[in-house]
Amino acid sequence: MSPLRKLLNVVRRSRMDDDLRQELETHVALIEEEERRQGLTADQARRNARTRFGNPQAYRERALDGVIATWFEHACKDVRFAARVLVRAPGFSTAAVLTIALGIGVNAAIFSVVSGVILRPLPHPRPEQLMYLNAQDTALNGRQSLLFAREYFALREANRSFVAIGGFQPGETNVTGGDRALRVRSAYVDEQTLEALGYQAAHGRLFAPGETYGRSNAPPGEWFPPIVILSHELWQTAFAGQPIVGHMIEVGGRSREVLGIMPPGADVMDNQTEIWLPLGLDRANREARLGHVIGRLRDGVTADAAQAELNALNANRGERHVLQLTPLHDQIVGVARRPIWMLQLAAGFVLLIASANLANLLLARAETRHREFAVRRALGATRVRLLTQSIAEGALLSIIGGALALWVADVGLRTLMRTYPAALPRTSEAGVDLPVLLFTCGIAAVTSLFFGLAQLRHTGAKGLAVVLTAPGAKGGTGAMRHHVRRGLVVAELALAIVLVMGAALLLRTVYNLTRIDGGINPSRLVTFSVNLPNRMFPQPESMRQLYRSFLDALRAVPGVEAATAMTGLPANRSGPPHKTRVANAQVPSPAPFETVDYYQHVMSGYFETMGIPIVRGRGFEPADAASPGMVAIVNERFVDQFWRGLDPIGQRLQPCCNDRTPWFTVVGVAKDVKQGGADRETGTEAYFFVEQDAKLPSGGGPTVPSIMNIVLRTALPPPALAQTIERVVRERERNVPVVRLRTMDAVFTDTIQRPRFLAQLLGVFASLALLLAAVGTYGVFSYIVVERRSEIGIRMALGAPRLGVLAHVMKEGLVLAGIAVAVGLAAAYLLSGLIASLLFGVQPIDVPTASAVAGTMIIVAAVACLLPAWRASRLDPLAALRGD
């Protein structure tokens, strides 16, 4: 039948149905007339006629089914009927809805992340054309490095594959909006970056070609052209959306012209950019370097073709850096892809366990509804009709459960993102969106189908007589069904084991990370950051003095025991290594210089305040500030790498590589600090003394840094100090905001945000899984005990001791748990490859963890069986044998 016809039939449905009803009534009436003619009373005739005729409703349905799409009417009826059925069994309905809501909710939440971070294209036009250009340094064995400005300009001119290639450098700067200084996230870009990203100004204009170049021979504060573009968001919050294009605002201590406003939501590489500044490359400065390089492919040019062109260009020129193309999306998501999929897998497991529980519930319910279905079938309901009705019940539960699930997902996701904002990239874009909705609806639909089928599975062929006369009138109690139930218990427990195992491994990872000696003593340390704009402090000496005056004032605050300052806050430092000449290096590098992973510029009292022991020689002393000889301190790793077997004291190094830079003499060796984070290799490190930096001429090596992290040793918490610190800083410099005020412990905790995020989330999943599996096991055993009541009754009547009955049931439970442990551990073993790269200090196949998990599961299963077993042992044999 054509769809149009079907539709017409639905419209004509009521008329045809009326016709048929009328026709059938006539038929009955005619039979009645005939019976009357044969001399029966009116009553008898009517009764005979009805008996002879049968159930007119069934005939009508059979007549109409072939012709008419009765499903619509049925669907409405089914839903109403289903609602009545479910309301009558509130316990079952609540359990089912909650199980569905949890199972689907967890999946919807994680799928929101999958959707927002991995699946959703970047919010730029034709995002597949956006490429990230990785520079690999051939002089450093292909190590990730930064492109030289000259290479960058040459590439822009020579290539034919890209429409636009632009640079990008993330940063932070101070903006004075109204009377308040703000620290905002900035993006230094050039005009081609914005072109590649596909942005147009919402107001005013964006950067023009050539406008973003800097002048490196200008005084530091005037290096960058004085122009800015505001994000829509900053414009709204800091400047209240007032017309501001063409006006001057204070950025980084310097007055700059606002060229334009970006469209809402504009960003680059998940930087949360609030203000856009010119990149400031100088074509004349050959050694300047570029942070990130982004390109947009020309229409019709594939990434492979572009890569081939880049390779050819590089082969021709023989440049230092080889460029490797990566889709921008992959570059942003990076290594977060694997943990996200792992979480989705874990969420899938939770759903499977929830489904197994639901199946259990349904099996139990199908038994009790056996009679109902058999009777309805005998009264003429077709199997299809029963099935659709059953599915309607499932659909109703799934819809309620699904709606609840979306709520769970939304709340869960918000909580997660608030707790761990930096654990994953692009999370600001994650939310319950259309794909998530479709995903949820899809799962809900499958659930309701599953529900309908499971409920009817055992109601199949058996006739009414068999069902109604069966012992206990409960329907079949075959061994088959027990196997299904036991299979479900094993599956639930095994899946739970895999999840608990994963959670346990991640928890151990987090524990290991927190136990690592970071090299400093982070307790009772409070830190914050200040940024002195070059513009206001053209002389290094004035900056040094300001830092000193901050520290002196802070040391005088009651409750503060010590104060110091440094450039790089340990535990989340990154960035390119520093080229350094190292005199007497034992393993000379092929390049004319060595690379040192970290430079740290510190103020006096640094090692004492941070609790970093000096293992040889001495620390910086006030006298060094006045002495003419430049001094440096290195870490143990540095000595190990460059001066193995030599006495490091008195050795010399020179920050690269400029004849005006003096050589520094090493006066001490400090204990290693995990500057890059607890899970990273300890790097080589050189410490410089800010008090000495101030004496060096501009361009002569280290200079006084404009951004400093100040550290206080104090028992006071950051909130108690906030006002004092703000006052101390403001009294000395009004335009400098105090930012990132927090404890050093918090700094360390933040560096392991992703492992903590994963451990906590997987921990939640594992707990859910354990709970669901325990409830499921309990349910199955309760049911088995009820079903085998008469058998247990006989055993007891024949003299089985109560304890024996208890042991019998417990044994069965423990055997199942044992099988589940074996299956679960095997599955965990097979999946170990997935989690291996996320672990630290523990192997994915870890015997102590596996044993602990197995033990836990056995205990959980035993507890879940205990109550049913105890109930079995308390049975009254007489009552049990008498039956229902």
């Binding site: 009328q22 026709e23 038929h27 005619l30 039979i31 049968g54 005939y59 059979r62 072939g66 012709v67």
Partner: protein, 111 residues
């Protein structure tokens, strides 16, 4: 409706209905049932549960035409007449029926 072509029982009922209507005026469902009943000496009883779906379906196939009218006793009933498509179908069903019975008879003789 090809899916019914091999359904002999279905086909038999169709054949009987078409045959009766081909030899008489418009008939209502009850009368058709009665006729089948009498014509087969009470040996074939048509269940109402099959009759009306069959009538409905055959009308839908345009083998029959249905019109509302009044019975002798003044009751409203639907009267069925055969269409020319119905007559063609009847010939076809008859041919198939003969084929089948012949085949069965042969099989019984030689088995």
């Amino acid at each position: 409706m090809p899916k019914h072509a091999n359904d002999r029982l279905q086909g038999t009922l169709d054949l009987l209905i078409l045959n009766i209507l081909a030899r008489s005026d418009a008939q209502h469902g009850y009368a058709i049932a009665q006729r089948i009943h009498h014509a087969t000496d009470d040996s074939l009883r048509i269940e109402e549960g099959s009759l009306y779906p069959a009538l409905q379906r055959m009308t839908h196939e345009k083998w029959l035409r249905a019109e509302w009218g009044l019975t002798d006793t003044g009751r409203k009933a639907r009267f069925y007449t055969i269409t020319s498509a119905g007559r063609r179908q009847l010939a076809e069903e008859e041919r198939r029926w003969l084929q089948l019975t012949e085949a069965v008879a042969k099989a019984l003789r030689f088995a």
